[in-house]
Amino acid sequence: MPPLNTDDAALLAAAKDGDLDAFEALVRAHSGAVYAHALRFFGDVGAAEDVAQEVWIKVYRSLSTFDERARFSTWLYRITRNACLDAVRAGKRRPVPIEVVDTIPVPGDLADQVALTASVEAAMTALQPEDRDAFSAVALFGLTYIEAGEQLGVPAGTVKSRVFRARRSLAHVLDLTAGGA
């Protein structure tokens, strides 16, 4: 997901002025990352939908407090992560358990995007939560290591290690012998 661009900034400014069409454009541009983060966190489509909806309502309600010196993606990641954690704390949902995964076959035809997504998402369940969190911040929301570190309360070097560990785990689990890749 690309980081905040000038389009985001313009949409944010308009949304803060009450332009709901601009807000909808923001939702459409970034809902994939929010939904994917929630889905990987809970492993459940219904929970991911609920949290995604909750996240965007929180974003809407908090627009007036958004500091435009910060990046929208950083703010959105924080709200998304907190919404997931909050749902668990409130007893509404349980996070996805870590799966012991041997290997996940990768489809021979990489053009089969549905199968490809299914393989990668299955592999995600093998990640440690802190690695998945860091990977999500950087790969889904486009945060820098420093930004992700600030959000996760760890040094940037730790984020780098976690993201790398996540990639190695994914590479280890994904079975590429079926060809294609």
């Binding site: 939908e49 007036s64 407090t65 704390r89 990489l110 490809l116 990668v120 290591y145």
Partner: protein
């Protein structure tokens, strides 16, 4: 360069981190000749190419339906208040006309105040048509409008009690002065930092000077939108606590706010532990209350001053009057006799509100702000 170094460099480069170009080239060269690194790079290619899981096609529509409904309800609440002000204007006119012997100056003063209010409302309405203000700005507008309405209504009541006749020109002018003071542009548009609002309790729409100077003796933090209060039971070691995130707070008035790691224990689902910077973990309990057989969790904006009280979340405007209007309506009373409110136009399933200054035995515990509670699932 070994495999780990090569893969780490490629991972960093993928994340748009600055890496040494020569080292990166060396890493790529290594990966072309190393079987395990080749597999690693191919796996990264697969991960990059895989589309994200697609949300349901109608998810955005559902989100926007909620957002649009909320925006409309907020707008409607503002319009309702404008109507109330208009009613106050009409009453003021009718009663002063019907009073036994209003002084010319008093009548003129009220008419002037009414005219000023009408003009100001028109000005605000015009702005609302062209640019919908952000929620915080709206609440300030409503507070201003309510101030005007309150002064007008007081003038009306005063007139109906025969007090109006006793007002001399000077006193009436002072009343007008109050109106002007309340609607001074700086009071409408001033952008007080939220920290200041939290510290004074102004955010929650409290009424009375005493409340404004109150600070909490209990340390509250907002974590994931929910409010936790320090509850004793410091841990001196992490033990089985699991890292959960971070929160901005301070444990004393002298230390600036900073991020502190948050930990949870599966044995205590409604508790978080916050690392206090001295290798201890302070215990905080989720603040809840019961109503109609359900448990509600206190929600708040970030509390970013030491001794700050929880206030209303940013999406909930502060009421303009002690009875909660126009934002809240009475929903009922809880088991302890505390009045429970709901959002105007909504039901309690979406959340409940509690008025400021409840008894010390209440979960809201003397909070000078209105508080907002969301049902715990």
């Amino acid at each position: 360069m070994d495999c780990i170094q090569a893969q780490a460099l490629i991972s960093e480069a993928l994340d748009h981190q600055p890496v040494d170009a020569a080292l990166l080239e060396e890493a790529k060269s290594h990966c072309r000749t190393c079987e395990s690194c080749t597999l690693f790079v191919r796996a990264l290619n697969v991960i990059q190419r895989a589309p994200l899981p697609a949300p349901p096609a109608d998810l955005t529509d559902r989100i926007m339906a909620v957002v649009r409904a909320e925006a409309a309800a907020t707008e409607q609440a503002g319009d309702t208040l404008s109507e109330e002000v208009a009613t106050a204007e009409a009453l003021a006119g009718a009663l002063t006309e019907g009073s036994a012997a209003p002084t010319d100056s008093a009548t003129a003063t009220i008419q002037a105040a009414t005219e000023a209010a009408r003009n100001k409302i028109a000005e605000k309405s015009a702005k609302r048509i062209t640019v919908t203000p952000a929620p915080a700005a709206r609440s300030q507008n409503w507070a201003w409008a309510a101030g005007v309405a309150a002064v007008l209504i007081l003038a009306v009541v005063g007139g109906s009690l025969g007090l109006l006749n006793s007002l001399n020109s000077k006193t009436a002018t002072e009343s007008t002065g109050d109106v002007v003071y309340n609607i001074a542009p700086e009071s409408v548009t001033s952008a007080a930092p939220e920290s200041a609002l939290s510290a004074t309790g102004a955010q929650g729409g409290e009424f009375g000077a005493a409340a404004k100077s109150t600070t909490s003796t209990v340390l509250f933090v907002t974590y994931g939108g929910a409010v936790y209060r320090q509850a004793g039971g410091t841990r001196t070691s992490r033990g089985d606590l699991a890292s959960s995130g971070s929160v901005s707070t301070s444990f004393d008035a002298q230390t600036p706010f900073a991020m502190h790691d948050v930990f949870t224990s599966s044995a205590e689902p409604d508790v978080i532990y916050i690392a206090n910077g001295t290798n201890n973990y302070e215990r905080f309990e989720l603040v809840t209350r019961s109503y109609q057989g359900k448990t509600y969790v206190l929600n708040s904006n970030a509390i970013d001053t030491f001794g700050g009280w929880p206030g209303l979340p940013s999406g909930i405007p502060a009421p303009a009057a002690p009875d909660g209007s126009p934002v809240f309506l009475t929903d009922g009373t809880d088991a302890t006799g505390v009045t429970v409110y709901r959002r105007t136009g909504a039901d309690a399933r979406l959340g409940i509100a509690i008025a400021p200054n409840t008894a010390t035995s209440d979960p809201a515990a003397g909070n000078p702000n209105w508080t907002w509670w969301v049902e715990k699932q």
